[in-house]
């Protein structure tokens, strides 16, 4: 609208806040692809396994289309200036995840396992709930800055969520990591997924207030700005918290995720590289320290260093060892460049958690290197849109929240995919959107909802700017 009145005085690659089109039609067009691609994939699986188009194709297509449509209409109505890519990207991943979960449901091997359930219908339900939550976020969160009021409530909520799995009778130890709770009649829940969002809100609110103190009051030593002792408090508390998670919930991934998220946000808030150095040193010290006495963590590290030995031990029936890491590597390797084709791989050999923690291995085997690279780039794009949202956001709280959420998202993708591919030790988290699991789907849809809200606020055309007397009268003289 009035870009001429507000000509930028310096070059910026951030999304122009003023005069941006709403891009809702772009989003709709992308959504069509995001629905059509999984529908084709679904037909592909059916043709490969049963030589016929699956009976549920129409229902699945309509269902996914409907969900995406509801999401789109909600965005159009409640966040018209939001980033156009976030919703289609999340829908695409969610849709593909559903197809692969359904494909694994067809595996006779997995069907013969004692705790087999038809996972796809449940995941479809979770997806519906997830998109409902997404819509609820858009409707009720009119402005993300409202969240700032709940800074300390969020902290309390996050702590409760993190402690829940340790409550006797409620927590469930699934495969060594204690990051689940069991709700009778409803199944298991991974509260860490929700704690991720609550913690991001808390960190954003807290750092926005404290950033000046943390950034300015410091001494310079060896080229690094050392914070004052008392300013070290918060980072020490968060560090201790993630160490406690590691010790009591024995999950390296969750611990790394929360600490990493905090360091990222701290760095953004204070613009002090020293925090990164501190963070790296502290997380390394913590991880090594805990690994020196925690057998479950040690075993995960051993399995990472020598998956073949781990496989051999598990085949000999040694308790506490798992063949999964090696089976996942074989699945990736067997997929090769182009993959075996959907429905034609043998990733069900991973057995336990094939459709949740290890679902990426099925993508790897059946869609190949090409497919995984595409999936990783889609994740990368989501993160990129999140960072752009942070750049475009006009308030520090929004910036911090957006970068916290997208940084956590990126870390989670890295930790899970890296774990499954043997780049880093395996952890108990799941790939956002594609993996089977209600908590993950719900929490990540909420995350996308918040990012969309922030980006809507950021890209929304500002009301005609009030004439700033300073801008008119003050002459800034710059040496050129």
């Amino acid at each position: 609208m009035s870009s001429t009145t507000n000509t930028p005085t310096h070059h910026t690659s951030t999304i122009g806040a003023i005069g941006a089109p709403s891009r809702r039609n772009t989003e709709l067009a992308m959504l069509v692809f995001a629905v059509v691609i999984p529908v084709f994939a679904y037909a592909n699986v059916g043709l490969a396994i049963d030589d016929k188009v699956p009976a549920g194709l129409l229902g699945y297509g309509l269902g996914l289309g409907l969900l995406a449509g509801v999401g789109h209409l909600a965005v159009r109505k409640f966040a018209p200036y939001a980033d156009p890519l976030l919703l289609p990207l999340a829908t695409l991943l969610n849709g593909l995840g559903l197809v692969v979960i359904w494909r694994l449901d067809q595996s006779k091997l997995l069907q013969s396992l004692p705790n087999y359930v038809q996972a796809a219908p449940r995941q479809l339900l979770y997806t519906a709930l997830g998109i409902a939550l997404f819509v609820v976020v858009l409707i009720f969160l009119k402005d993300h800055r409202v969240l700032q009021r709940y800074t300390y409530i969020s902290m309390f909520g996050a702590l409760v969520l993190l402690i829940l799995p340790l409550v006797p009778g409620l927590g469930a130890n699934i495969f060594g990591a204690k990051i689940w709770i069991r709700i009778p009649g409803l199944g298991t829940l991974q509260p860490g997924e929700f704690a991720k969002i609550a913690l991001a809100v808390f960190f954003a609110g807290y750092l926005m207030v404290k950033r000046d103190a943390l950034a300015l009051a410091s001494r310079r030593f060896l080229g690094l700005y050392l914070p004052r002792g008392r300013d070290l408090g918060p980072i020490l508390v968060v560090w201790l918290m993630s160490i406690l998670i590691l010790v009591f919930e024995t999950d390296l991934g969750t611990s790394l995720l929360f600490f990493g998220m905090f360091v990222v946000m701290l760095y953004v808030a204070t613009e002090r590289t020293s925090w990164i150095v501190f963070g790296l040193l502290m997380s390394a010290a913590g991880a090594v320290g805990v690994a020196s006495f925690e057998p479950h963590v040690q075993q995960r590290v051993q399995a990472w260093l020598d998956p073949m030995k781990e496989y051999t031990l598990s085949q000999k029936g040694v308790v506490g060892h798992s063949e999964q890491s090696m089976q996942a590597l074989w699945a990736f390797g067997s997929g090769g460049t182009l993959g075996s084709g959907l429905g034609q791989g043998h990733s069900d050999l991973i057995r336990f958690a094939a459709n949740s923690d290890f679902i990426l291995a099925t993508f790897g085997e059946e869609l190949g290197l090409a497919g995984i690279m595409a999936i990783l780039l889609v994740y990368g794009l989501i993160v990129e849109r999140g960072v752009r949202t942070a750049l475009a956001a006009r308030d520090p709280f929004g910036k911090l929240l957006a970068i916290g959420l997208s940084g956590a998202f990126a870390l989670q993708v890295f930790v899970v995919a890296g774990g499954v591919m043997g780049l880093i030790p395996l952890t108990g988290m799941t790939m956002p959107f594609v993996a089977y699991g209600g908590s993950s789907v719900l929490a990540n849809w909420a995350l996308i909802g918040i990012l969309i809200r922030i980006s809507d606020t950021a890209r929304r055309p500002a009301p005609a700017p009030a004439i700033n007397p300073d801008a008119e009268m003050t002459q800034v003289v710059r040496p050129s």
């Binding site: 760095y267 043998h346 790897g364 993160v383 890296g418 591919m421």
Partner: protein, 495 residues
Amino acid sequence: MNKPLRRIALFCGLLVLALLVRDNWLQYVKADSLKDDPKNRRVTIARYSTPRGDIIVDGNPITGSTTTSTSGLNDLKYKRTYKNGPMWAPVTGYASQAFGANQLESIEDGILSGTDDRLFFRNTLDMITGKEKQGGNVVTTLNAAAQKAAYDGLKAQGGKGAVAALDPSTGKILALASYPSYDPSSFAGNSTSTDSKAWTELQKKNNPNDPMLNRALRETYPPGSTFKVVTAAAALENGLYNSADQNTDSPLPYIMKGTTTELKNEGNIPCKNATMRTALRVSCNTVFGKIGSDLGNEKMLAEAKKFGFDAEQFTPVRSAASVFSDNMNSSQTALSSIGQYNTAATPLQMAMVASAVANNGKLMKPYMVDKLQSSNLDTIAQTDPQELSRPLSAKNAQILQSMMETVVKDGTGTNAQINGVTVGGKTGTAQHGVENSANPYAWFISYAKLGDGSTPVAVAVVIEDDQANRDDISGGGLAAPIAKSVMEAVIGSKR
């Protein structure tokens, strides 16, 4: 705050880049080694996903495939079956869903399971036309009648033993039997209740008879007097003696050089200054011990190596290397030259000795795979007979033939006589165990020569029998009848 934000964006980009690089490493660089890792279950699944090709003898398959139920944990569609498994096990080896494959089943697995590159064009064609991938066939050189004669003979004998029979002019393996044997069908599947049980029971530690040992190829026995054929060949080739009927300068009793020990003969036999013909006919230890001692370790070893000793043979199934030692003194060489001391030979090796003599001195490389076929019976590869070495000249070979024929005509090997066929042979009774306390091995090696001068078969038989009376064991008594029936079977199938 935008500068750190951009750096965080870069950091996130690096995370994704690290994942992309790792994925390329896994799915491109390491893909093939992961894919073909024998522990990767997919290899087994692929092997049993289509009916396996067959191993063929005389135009008839001795193997088959049957579907198994693929419900639940059993993800393997087809299971190997064997016809007359125990008889053919030394030829086929086994292909088990649970325990992998060995011998021919393993070596030619690419053809049998249809994954061999040479089948690539056909497989691609099948994929386009929508046909199920099929394994190719392995056509063997074996002779069903000879194999049956060999196995039945061993089985009737009841003790442990083995038979190897060759076509001297080509090196084709005609029979390869081992007893006691096993039925590879019994553990071809992967059921824990039947297949694993059968497998466990067959293991050497649970079964002292070691039925899964392929004695024809993998077990070496002291060859005893049958080795005198090699010693005689060395004497002729090195010019020590030029004819079969020349008196050898052999004392009786014979004290081995450098010792005070007398090398004894079995019984009171006319060995003093005997001709080589007589010495071979009655099996004189003194004469051949002295020949070995006179020639020396080096010349004996050179001749033994020409016959194939001290080397593994790949038929393509590997045989153990037979042994003739190096760095022996005179008396050790004398003992070795009558097939004692360190000398040890596989049944295949001794069949090679007989076949080289029968084939006028030319030793052909033994082989059991005649050709490989695709599923529609096109020949993919054909094995051509190959000369391995010439242990002796044609003239000397004929001298040796006449000596071996005397053995069967009126010597220790009369049990191998066949009406209307000239048979040459040599018996052996090898002592073993501490102070020769264990029961000796009974050996017989022979060849059959038809009226037209052709020699269609050479055979070696060994019987190790700890049940039999020690005195009963002699190559002529136990082993020669089996050799005879194998030769008859080969000659019968030629007619």
